[in-house]
């Protein structure tokens, strides 16, 4: 792997740019948010370039000139590029939102921007690294910065939720590290490429995969390991919730994908994928049920995340062997992309609602104390994507899911997908009904007074919701470049 200039050099730059942006914003203090935004914008440009470059084929880069397994190798294919791109989009737009969310010279703002950039640096590292231990360190940066960001809300609920999140995060990453230790014991290398060639299905590798999966599932919040998520995502500030639901969970999910289907493909037993699918179905049911019952808006959105994560795991049995692999991989990727945009939009909109109304109790939201039409439209559009109605990205993802299920003959997935859509509709329309609630107007009080939050807050929520919509229209061209070794197109 000769480090070529040009395209491959983007890979380490994807980590350097947010890292330097975070450092600059930390040192600069109050004016640091502009340094951070500059880094986010530059990162978005790099992500777009990466997306274009991986069309031609996977990229590789050996850091320091030391080829793996002695050194650490970076690599990106179409799958990584898409994950990097959606991270860039969500962090940039939510960053613009945060400009107005955190007051100019506040102490909270000064801490937010460096942590936000470091979160992005950790995400990018996760998506481009090809080394198992490097993944562990990136997971830790991700987890710790996420915990720190949750505490920015400042109240006791947030700190409590952050503590629980921290403990969960530690247990998860240590289980993952134990798995890495086992793999290193038996194979003596940590490089993904080398492991993909020499890994088999010995008991030690199965145990290692089990441990690593347990840790990563805990961090990705698959039912029943989701218990920490609703509080943590609901009590964080709105842009932080958006990043947590949209991106942080997907980071560890990406690692799971690579482990199961590329690095240790032989170690996953035949029943393991089906177990995950069953848990995914349970997640959809449980998350939707709790979302329909909870009285608070942000908690509703958080439970919706629990449900949507279930969809990602429904497809695991299809990704391993047999027909329908390509369609299943397309579906998984599209679920990630569409959910990231839609959920981030939903959280940003919920943040607007909370700022205007002063609270987020759903039943007390009145039509005349809601933010402007932009926020409501963004929430509606995001909700429609989550339910899976055409022509949004959520619909495209579900369509591909059903295609893969039909090809593999897994007819029960049809029932689950349909049921999930119905349940999602319940909780989405529950909120939307408040937007159309005009009882106070009809009772003779004054006309609805639409209070406006700062324009960039409305626009950023709207942009992400529109992105979820656009994703539904560009599914074909976007997906033609994904390539995961072992899953033929």
């Amino acid at each position: 792997m000769i480090p070529a200039g040009g395209a491959s050099a983007m890979l380490p730059l994807l980590v350097s740019v947010p890292l330097l942006g975070g450092l600059a914003s930390f040192v600069l203090g109050d004016r640091g948010r502009w340094a951070a935004l500059g880094a986010l914008a530059l990162n978005a440009v790099l992500a777009a370039l990466l997306l274009a470059a991986t069309r031609a084929g996977p990229l590789d880069y050996a850091l320091g000139g030391w080829s793996a397994p002695l050194g650490i190798a970076l690599g990106a294919d179409g799958l990584s590029a898409l994950f990097v791109a959606v991270s860039a989009l969500v962090t940039l737009v939510a960053g613009v939102y945060s400009l107005a969310y955190f007051a100019g010279g506040s102490a909270t703002g000064r801490v937010f921007w460096p942590l936000w950039c470091l979160l992005l640096a950790a995400l990018n590292t996760l998506f481009v690294t090809r080394d198992l231990f490097n993944t562990y360190v990136a997971i830790e940066v991700l987890g710790l910065s996420a915990v720190a960001l949750v505490t920015l809300a400042g109240d006791v609920t947030a700190v409590r939720a952050a503590l629980r999140y921290l403990l969960v995060s530690l247990v998860g990453s240590l289980c993952y590290l134990m798995g890495v230790a086992l793999v290193y014991r038996v194979h003596g290398v940590l490089d993904a490429g080398a492991l993909a060639r020499i890994s088999g299905s010995s008991p030690l590798e199965c145990t290692a995969l089990a441990l690593m999966s347990a840790g990563l599932l805990l961090k990705t919040a698959l039912f029943p390991l989701h218990f920490w998520l609703p509080e943590a995502h609901a009590s964080a500030p709105a842009p932080v919730s958006a990043a947590l639901s949209a991106l942080v969970l997907k980071g560890t999910f990406y690692v799971l994908l690579r482990l199961w289907f590329e690095i240790l493909p032989g170690a996953a037993g035949p029943g393991a994928g089906t177990t995950l699918a069953v848990l995914g179905a349970a997640a959809i049911a449980w998350g939707s049920l709790m979302a329909a019952r909870t009285p608070r808006l942000k908690r509703l959105v958080a439970y919706s995340t629990v449900a949507q994560i279930g969809y990602l795991f429904l497809l695991f049995p299809l990704l391993g062997r047999g027909p329908g692999r390509a369609a299943a991989l397309d579906a998984v990727v599209y679920f990630v992309l569409a959910h990231a945009c839609a959920k981030a939009a939903m959280f940003l909109a919920a943040g607007n609602v909370q700022s205007v109304a002063g609270h987020d109790r759903i039943d007390e939201l009145r039509g005349d104390a809601l933010p402007g039409a932009g926020t409501q439209f963004a929430f509606a559009l995001a909700g429609i994507s989550l339910v899976g109605l055409p022509p949004t990205g959520g619909f495209a993802a579900k369509w591909m899911l059903l295609q893969g299920a039909a090809q593999a003959g897994a007819w029960w997935l049809f029932a689950v997908a349909l049921g999930g859509a119905l349940l999602a509709a319940i909780y989405v329309f529950r909120v939307l009904a408040r937007c159309f609630d005009l009882t106070s107007v009809l009772a003779g009080r004054e006309a609805p007074r639409l209070v406006h939050v700062a324009a960039c807050r409305e626009w950023s929520a709207l942009v992400l919701a529109l992105a979820a919509l656009v994703l539904g229209l560009v599914a074909g061209p976007l997906l033609s470049g994904i390539h995961v070794p072992g899953v033929p197109r």
């Binding site: 700190v159 952050a162 240590l174 134990m178 230790a181 290193y184």
Partner: protein, 98 residues
């Protein structure tokens, strides 16, 4: 081999502590013990008795453990800070132990 077993035991004891203990400080300490268990497994595997040229320990495993120790210390520090803040914001009513 005994060191490896000890490491695995520490891992399990720490895992139990995080899940089942009540005081927050104890759970953070249990997470530390879990980490130490993993590091012990890594270091125990680094010793290769008498391969071609005598017993040279594996430097990569040692470097991994050094990195891991720093990460564990950082995480513990964050956890302790959060416990302090929790006590500031919500002083415990009847139980004065952390």
């Amino acid at each position: 081999m005994p060191f490896t077993t000890c490491g695995v035991l520490l891992f399990a004891i720490g895992l139990y502590g995080v899940l089942a203990a009540r005081p927050l400080l104890r759970r953070i300490l249990a997470a530390n013990i879990m980490g130490n268990g993993v590091f012990m497994v890594l270091v125990a595997g680094a010793f290769r008795p008498a391969q071609a040229g005598g017993a040279i320990p594996d430097p990569v495993a040692h470097a991994l453990v050094l990195t891991g120790i720093v990460v564990a210390v950082s995480a513990t520090a964050l956890g302790l800070h959060l416990v302090c803040r929790l006590h500031e914001l919500a002083p415990p009513a009847e139980d004065s132990r952390t």
